[in-house]
Symmetry: D2
Subunit: 311 residues, 4 copies
């Protein structure tokens, strides 16, 4: 079946689902997005893109950004990064602080909030403060081949005003010496990373490097070495959906990363990158319809990494 | 490169490694196995098998058995099983009891001890007590196409005499109503499952169904539906190495299941099933040399599920 | 006001209270006791005893027994006991297992179940198995000056049949080496200790030594040295009501020990020992009416240890 | 024996102790105090005061201040305070954050850091920001009858610069809605409360109300109702020494509150208030020599609340 038909069918099916989850309401600007929205985009290495629904409407990518900041931080400091962030599933919610107390302020993995705050701290150590956000946006634009991608400063501001749990996480890690810069600055970077506004199409295009052994297929340039791209995928599979990661691997079988804005990014090694979006969240904070759409996509395509490969 | 050369090279390389981990000493009969042992076997769908080292020496498969008991229990009760066992990484050690207290006696996944004890309880509900071990051995023999596979009763007896932590887990779950049979009987089944003695060759052959969409390639008969085989693989990837699961996914990138006897089972969807064995364990209780051998194998073959696929 | 009038007034007041808590239903023989029961007894050093309500009806003393087994175990092994049991409030429920995992199988204090199971193990190390229960009953009879006190074997049997959580605790501690005897034997002793049937009058008389600097006031003989009696009282104050200990100290201000049978033992240093009983429990597992009665008693008598002393 | 002789003897004995603990080094200005310091002061209701050693040297009272801020906050909001702070021992270290996650941001008791930060928030709700510190100092001065007591702003500043763990606690509780004011302001108040500099003599005099049923014995005026004074004492006994509270109750048997500056405040209901000071801390963060001195004092005086009373 052709990919366009597949995404069209999925969009049509998703439109009929009535259980759409709850839109996150703790960030003011996210609370007013309609739960009826749904977008899907599949990007292939050659840049061709199959989309359906609201695939060109920008949304707040939130925690999906952690994939990009991990990629960027690994480029800057290499495997030394793993001294400050673990590589194991946390078994706890995205904003849990318990694990930090017993593990000396080292977050379990880079895809929970505490881990991504350390990534922001690493970026701050490697760029001028005035440049750190600009460099990040440039990096994502280059990945996507799209210069219109911007940060939604209103969202970033809203998070800064209410992000007490993240402030707690950052201060707590700083008390263990695992945050080196001023907490306000680190969180400024972190909140702005999360506030990147992208459409499904842009997200799918930007993440092609994950499906292409680390290379930007437009330029042929390695964004990360192939070995590291695989490792990012492994972390997405085991840790990309917080305490719902096992369930996502079980149902979808693809490396993925979700955000509370309702987006999910997924990658099929060697084949495609995928972005879906629907703002309602399930009880673990992952997009309800987005997860369901990916489950259907994998059924139709056989793209699960656990599927038999034909050689 | 041909597979035989690859396994020979790996065996030669592993023989030179001096850091071989610590042999588990809490089970008397395991403590006296020489850490210099190393075996590897790769089985293809057609039954061909490439082996090196001590690949025909039987060892105690211990927790690897959980893959077989999960398969058997799913066959008996289907997805109803997931009401009594979760599907998430635990973030804790193999014998942790903490998680059970806060989650009402439901183990996080079937690959930690508590989860596999529930599997034993399910088998007890579906077979005559006198048959339950016999049925299990027959099941594994059929998978392997090898009628010489047996349980080492000495090992089972040793575990029963010292398995206080497992007795605690079982009694604890029973207090929540998640164990239905007498604890002594349930643990009897559990300890005997763990005491299965198999060689790398037998293990690799027995697990071909995982790489073959659930079918026993010798008979063509579906041991589990294809969809369920994929899900078992996803659980192996996210939960198969206790609190070292993320690390194994990161380094090896294959669904795998380890045992404290020093064995590791891994599967490459559509291609091969693999067993390695070396008794020394790393600090997370997984085979040190076995993990390393699989890492090298994946480098040489490109078999990681996160590797680009060529279509 | 004379003590008889006080206990009569309290009994009358308690009879009118309609919120009487929930009778423990996990031990079959406790479940059928009427929540309308209430007894109170105050014993003075001279053996005079002021009672009201159902003060002469025997009930299952359950965890109150821990005070007697601690006293007996301290007599046998002295302060060496504190190497196997802690002296801190646990901050968790009476049957929590979490704390044991992070603290190497050492229970926080002797008044949670895990701690008292260690006490039973200590008694088993010091008496012939056949004697250990007999010695315990003799000890309590001597304290009370009453040879009619007996163990309710029906209750003990009921607990043994359903005490999975306690079996978990004992096995768990045994896995850390903090239980030295067979778990079944240790729990046999523990359950029989808990199944002691005593009336408020018997309990108040038996615990006079706590109010009298460790001496049995009938015989003048020191059951424990004065210094140790004080320390038992301090443990009762800080740990005697599980995770409701702070609340009890706050409201009542006396060293006390509760049991799920609905009894509470309290001591006023130098003045009196007190027992109350009413089977309905509050949400922390302590007698609802019993706690309230002690709160009223302390208001009427000024017996709180935090009250101004007049010298 | 007369009290002056007793304190002289204790000071002489303490001077000979070589194991003096470790001086807290996480607050710069505390780190340079000599561990050889020792002071003791006993104040009676009539204002007479028995002192020895460095009893007139001011030190940073740190967490002892929580007794005063609790008293003040109770005076402002009464028992409504207990909706925002618990009354149970925490079973964890003074700065633990774990308990807050599972208990919705309600600190276990007012004597751990999180609890006292809530007290600061309550004071901020009841005074003009510019007045809140002035009111607090006036309150303590009035209690002590000494207008020379001041806050050491250098210490407060040092804590603010390094108090990341407290910032984490405050932000974390704010995320649950249990802090109502800006975290910086709340911590400003908290750190300045802790930075009160007082001598043993001043502390003992200031806390006479605790031993005198809530009345300031100089003025006869009730600082808190008698009932509330008793309850503060009960909290000091069960929670005043963090995860060493049980041990302190066991060894000393008096309501007490320690601070990392090396001070300990204790009260003997109806008889005396006591302050000791020695900067070296034991492994639980309580003054090593101070605890020992109180243990000796209680042995010599029989002042334990668990001691037989003579009527």
């Amino acid at each position: 079946m052709c990919l366009q038909t597949i995404v069209d069918d999925i969009a049509a099916e998703m439109a009929l689902v009535t259980e759409r989850g709850r839109v996150a309401d703790y960030i003011p600007d996210l609370a007013c997005v309609s739960p009826s929205k749904f977008g899907i985009a599949i990007a292939l290495a050659d840049g061709s893109c199959f989309t359906a629904g609201d695939a060109d409407e920008a949304f707040s990518i939130q925690s999906i950004t952690k994939v990009f900041s991990l990629t960027m931080a690994l480029g800057l400091v290499g495997d030394g990064l793993w001294q400050r962030v673990g590589r194991e599933p946390s078994g706890t919610a995205f904003n849990s602080i318990v694990q930090l107390e017993t593990e000396s302020g080292i977050p379990r993995n880079p895809f929970i909030n505490a881990g991504a705050i350390v990534l922001a701290d690493i970026l701050l150590a490697n760029y001028e403060p005035a440049e750190v956000l600009g460099e990040f946006v440039r990096f994502v634009r280059e990945l996507a081949g799209d210069d219109t991608i911007v940060i939604d400063h209103q969202v970033a501001k809203g998070e800064a005003a209410t992000g007490f749990r993240n402030m707690a996480l950052a201060n707590y890690m700083r008390s263990f010496g695992n945050i080196h810069h001023e907490v306000d600055k680190v969180l400024g970077v972190y909140f702005h990373h999360c506030a990147l506004a992208m459409s499904c199409r842009q997200l799918a295009l930007a993440s092609r490097y994950l499906a292409c052994g680390g290379r930007n297929p437009d330029t042929g340039y390695a964004m990360v070495p192939a070995r590291r791209a695989k490792r990012i995928l492994s972390l997405m599979l085991s840790c990309g959906h917080y305490d719902g990661s096992g369930e996502f691997a079980f149902r979808v079988g693809l490396p993925g990363k979700s955000g509370v804005g309702g987006g999910i990014l997924a990658a099929v090694p060697g084949i495609a990158s995928i972005a879906v979006w629907s703002p309602g969240l399930n009880e673990r904070g992952n997009s309800q319809i987005g997860s369901f759409a990916l489950e259907r996509l994998v059924e139709k395509t056989g793209w699960s990494v656990f599927e038999e490969r034909n050689h």
